[in-house]
């Protein structure tokens, strides 16, 4: 399969009164056509900023996409697009859905108009055709009685229905890529599963490539093909689902997976958490950003940024443990901590 998106050395900063916040600090990954890539990490690790950059939603100022960053989609560096090209790109090549569907929909515009807007922004169709397409989209996302839904306003729909409408809006422009920024965080668990299933089903039908931003590992396991694990603006580890869940190499991935609650926890047993807090991105540490919280921290970790080591094709981790001289190179995290 060929790569649809290549993100190369992406660096994004925000200029604030306190100083320059380096949200994304040199991120490189690629997304294959038709797959689902999940970007996981805790709040403030730069995963949303990465997604927004691909969508061209970084406001400059206060944001700044650093010189040397590249996002190549279909052979074209999208970061060099003019405002006009961005307008044509957003919605038709790349769409985005957000965490809170209620605030992300215009409260005083009905569903029909909000979906039709995307269609008519990109395709020279008549109002009638656009309306037909809108109805089709609502059917596609599994809205019961789509005809009635067309005339409804966001506040008249339930949370799950609103997120379905959001997906219909995003897909109405027939984009190649759908970026989903924590699409299930604001929903309750049963609805979460429905929305994830819907996204899987739509991907199968339409062949859309999905970039999923989330901190919910359960969701990731369910839908993702490849996973990028981010921490304080850097990629810690990336690989396919099997490699990340069963053969993870980075202590952060290990800690993250261990922190996910599971049903085997006995009553009153405290949930596992990662001690400490992420580093300050105004003055990020010189070495590995996870060093201060890492169980396996060595001297070099605090002074020098780790190199990336490849274990299998596509599976890499940025950690000094795998340096031949560390003495840990054959560490097996799947047995650690038992």
């Amino acid at each position: 399969m060929k790569n649809l998106i290549d993100v190369k050395n992406l660096r994004v900063s925000y200029h604030t009164y306190a100083g320059e916040v380096q949200s994304v600090r040199g991120v490189t990954f690629s997304v294959q056509e038709g797959e689902t890539l999940a970007i996981v990490g805790e709040s403030g690790c730069g995963k949303s900023v990465t997604a927004k950059t691909i969508m061209g939603l970084i406001a400059t100022p206060p944001g700044e996409i650093k010189e040397g960053s590249e996002v190549v989609l279909d052979g074209k560096d999208i970061l060099k697009q003019t405002e006009k090209e961005w307008e044509a790109y957003r919605g038709a090549t790349c769409s985005m859905i957000f965490q809170d569907a209620l605030t992300s929909l215009n409260p005083t515009m009905n569903v029909e108009k909000q979906i039709m807007e995307n269609i008519r922004n990109h395709y020279p169709v008549s109002k009638e055709e656009a309306r037909k397409e809108t109805l089709h989209m609502l059917e596609l996302v599994g809205i019961p009685d789509p005809q009635a839904c067309m005339k409804k306003y966001p506040h008249q729909l339930s949370g799950g229905m609103r997120q379905r409408v959001m997906i219909a809006i995003a897909l109405a422009g027939k984009p190649k890529v759908l970026i989903a920024d924590e699409p299930t965080t604001a929903l309750d668990v049963t609805i979460q599963a429905q929305i994830i299933d819907l996204m899987k089903e739509l991907q199968k039908k339409l062949g859309t490539t999905i970039i999923l931003i989330t901190h919910d590992l359960g969701v990731v396991a369910n839908i993702a093909d490849h996973i990028v694990v981010m921490y304080s603006g850097k990629i810690m580890e990336k690989g396919d689902v099997r490699q990340i869940f069963y053969g993870h190499k980075h202590p952060y991935t290990w800690a993250l997976l261990k922190a996910a609650p599971n049903l085997e926890l006995s009553n009153k047993q405290p949930l596992i958490s990662i001690e400490g807090t992420p580093p300050d991105l105004i003055d990020p540490p010189k070495g590995c950003p996870f060093a201060a919280r890492c169980k396996y921290c060595m001297n070099i970790c605090t002074t020098e940024a780790p190199e990336e080591y490849e274990f299998e094709p596509g599976h890499t981790a940025a950690c000094w443990l795998y340096h031949p001289e560390s003495g840990y190179a054959d560490i097996d995290f799947s047995r650690e901590g038992e």
Partner: protein
């Protein structure tokens, strides 16, 4: 919705009654009496009593009020004591002048404040916004009667580009002439409201532009200007509808002063004359009438809000 309107209209009745009682009492508390105009030195007590009798001014306040109310309910607002003509006729005659002045000033306020507010909001904290905001501060803090007199001095007396007052030039009877006379009073009357609306629209624009739905619209590839006019503008203007409804009171009061300064022959001026002559029926007529305008204005604003905002519409249906 219909139910809601009917409910509101029924609710008007006790309100109007209370207002009428209060204004009747306040009028009686003021010194002087309508028949003072007719008094002459050397009149006998009997003659004065007869005059009072003639105008229905003897008897207790309650009796007088009841007498007035009975006639009002039959559609008779009474007869002006000094002008000797029916109050309804006097008000009807002066009404078009006031309504056109209020309408013109409201129109000026809306037409000016929408672009000003939007521009200020879009250029938040930049020079353009600073300039507009400074002007609005002046607009809010300058008293209308002062700016009215200053504008008469500058535009009417010094520059001679507008008339000092009145509604028509001598022997001229044309719309253009009336509009020309209306420019100064309408602008002065609108100044304050324009400033307030501009400030509201500015802050609404700023907060609406930060809403998530704007990001959604951007990610649909919608043009910036279309987002502003099709998405943001409507949500910005919704609260302004309520504001306009409330400001109708201000317009009624404002026109009272402005009409007098510009000798505009409207009901405000009619009432000013009536107050001077203690012309009870006219004052009562004016009070009831402006109260009615105010309440109906508020009602219309509420209904318009419901028409414009689907969230409110639904709430009203449920009541």
């Amino acid at each position: 919705m219909k139910k809601y309107i009917v409910k509101r209209v029924i609710g008007l009745i006790p309100l109007l009654l209370v207002v009428s009682i209060f204004s009747f009492l306040i009028l009686q508390a003021a010194p002087g009496s309508p028949i003072d105009n007719y008094m002459q030195p050397g009149m006998t007590e009997d003659r004065i009593e007869a005059l009072k009798e003639e105008y229905g001014l003897n008897g207790s306040i309650a009796e007088q009020y009841w007498y007035w109310l009975k006639h009002v309910l039959q559609g008779d607002m009474g007869t002006s004591i000094s002008k000797n003509r029916p109050v309804t006729e006097l008000i009807a005659e002066r009404l078009p002048a006031t309504v056109s002045l209020m309408g013109a000033s409201l129109l000026i306020s809306i037409v000016c404040s929408i672009p000003l507010g939007l521009i200020a909001g879009l250029h938040k904290d930049r020079p353009m916004d600073k300039v507009i905001s400074t002007i609005t501060y002046f607009g809010i803090s300058i008293p209308p009667f002062w700016i009215a007199m200053i504008s008469v001095i500058i535009f009417a007396i010094k520059l001679r580009c507008f008339p000092t007052g009145g509604m028509h030039s001598l022997d001229v009877e044309s719309t253009a002439d009336t509009l020309w006379h209306m420019v100064l009073p309408a602008c002065v009357l609108s100044l304050n409201h324009t400033a307030v609306y501009t400030k509201y629209i500015r802050s609404n624009t700023i907060s609406q532009l930060e809403e998530d739905y704007v990001v959604t619209a951007v990610s649909k590839g919608t043009n910036k200007n279309i987002i502003l006019f099709c998405h943001v503008l409507k949500n910005c203007l919704l609260p302004i509808i309520t504001l306009i409804g409330m400001n109708i009171a201000g317009l009624v009061c404002g026109s009272f002063i402005i009409e007098n300064i510009f000798s505009w022959p409207g009901i405000g001026r009619l009432c000013m004359e009536a107050v001077g002559g203690r012309d009870y029926p006219v004052i009562m007529g004016y009070t009831m009438f402006s109260c009615l305008i105010l309440i109906v204005g508020n009602l219309v604003a509420d209904v318009l809000y419901a028409v414009a905002d689907p969230r409110i519409r639904e709430g009203m249906g449920r009541k």
